[in-house]
């Protein structure tokens, strides 16, 4: 952690001097007063300088970004990370040449990295953050694929009049399937099995 100790004639002077040394604004640091200082008589006798210890506040999201960078650097040197935050939802968007390596088969490597960053971030902060690690629009592409898959398998279930089970997927991918088929009056969906092998079942509604 970066910190400096600075002194000045008044408390404000000391803080100002520390901030200049760190090149930070006041809202991004923690200030600890060591000595408030004394004006002294006529400003000469018995004057004591004010001393403060100022340290840079660690931003948990920035830390998570650095952690992510450390991990992705082992895949390729040129991976860029873009961080977007909306309240407690944080998106880390990765891009670079060897991005396919980072995504892995059906996104399993990307999901594992996302899980690790989520665990790490929530360990270091008091607020709960929900994070998404995306790679060059992979999540959006996957959602599109899942929607098509959902419709195709719903048609199949209706045609063969039997339940169709999908392969195991993480919760947010199952959600895409459920919400896609929610308005389809000919099928019902539910999930079966337990994580991480929980899967969606599409059930045709048979007319009696």
């Amino acid at each position: 952690m970066k910190q400096v100790t600075a002194s000045g004639q008044t408390l404000d002077d000391a803080i100002q001097s520390a901030l200049e040394q760190l090149n930070m604004s006041k809202d991004r640091v923690d200030i600890e007063v060591i000595d408030e200082g004394k004006k002294g008589m006529f400003g000469i006798f018995g004057a004591k300088r004010a001393i403060v210890k100022v340290s840079i506040k660690e931003d948990p999201i920035e830390q998570a970004g650095n952690y992510l960078k450390e991990i992705t650097r082992s895949f390729a040197d040129d991976i860029q990370i873009e961080i977007k935050q909306e309240q407690n939802n944080v998106t880390f968007d990765l891009s670079g040449e060897k991005i396919a390596m980072v995504i892995g088969k059906r996104g399993q490597t990307l999901n594992a990295i996302q899980h690790l960053v989520q665990v790490m971030l929530n360990r270091h902060s008091t607020d709960f953050y929900r994070i998404v690690v995306d790679a060059e629009g992979y999540r959006a592409r996957r959602e599109e694929t899942l929607k098509q898959l959902a419709n195709r398998l719903a048609d199949k279930a209706i045609k063969i009049k039997r339940n169709v089970t999908l392969e195991p997927m993480p919760s947010y991918e199952r959600k895409v399937i459920h919400s896609m088929l929610q308005d389809n009056p000919k099928v019902e969906t539910h999930s079966d099995g337990s994580d991480p092998n929980r899967f969606v079942v599409i059930k045709p509604i048979l007319k009696k």
Binding site: F75, L116, M120
Partner: protein, 75 residues
């Protein structure tokens, strides 16, 4: 590789200084043995081994360039 495993694990535990990774090369595979502070065992394994599984997925993906198979042995 050991350095990478250490950087992945350290932010997840309470005693980062006790994270030890050793490499052991065998005829057709490389085994990395990970030990952590006794209080941190649960943190690297996670509920139903979820964290351990994620760590392995990431490590194996990175190690896929190597010719030999790699294994990560936890504790």
């Amino acid at each position: 590789m050991e350095a990478l495993i250490t950087t992945i694990i350290q932010p997840l535990v309470d005693h980062p200084e006790d994270v030890i990774v050793t490499e052991n090369e065998e005829s057709n595979k490389i085994v990395y043995h990970l030990t952590v502070h006794p209080d941190d065992v649960g943190k690297v394994i996670g509920k139903n081994g979820r964290i351990a599984k994620s760590i392995r997925t990431v490590v194996y993906a990175i190690g896929s360039d190597e010719k030999k198979r790699i294994y990560l042995d936890i504790m």
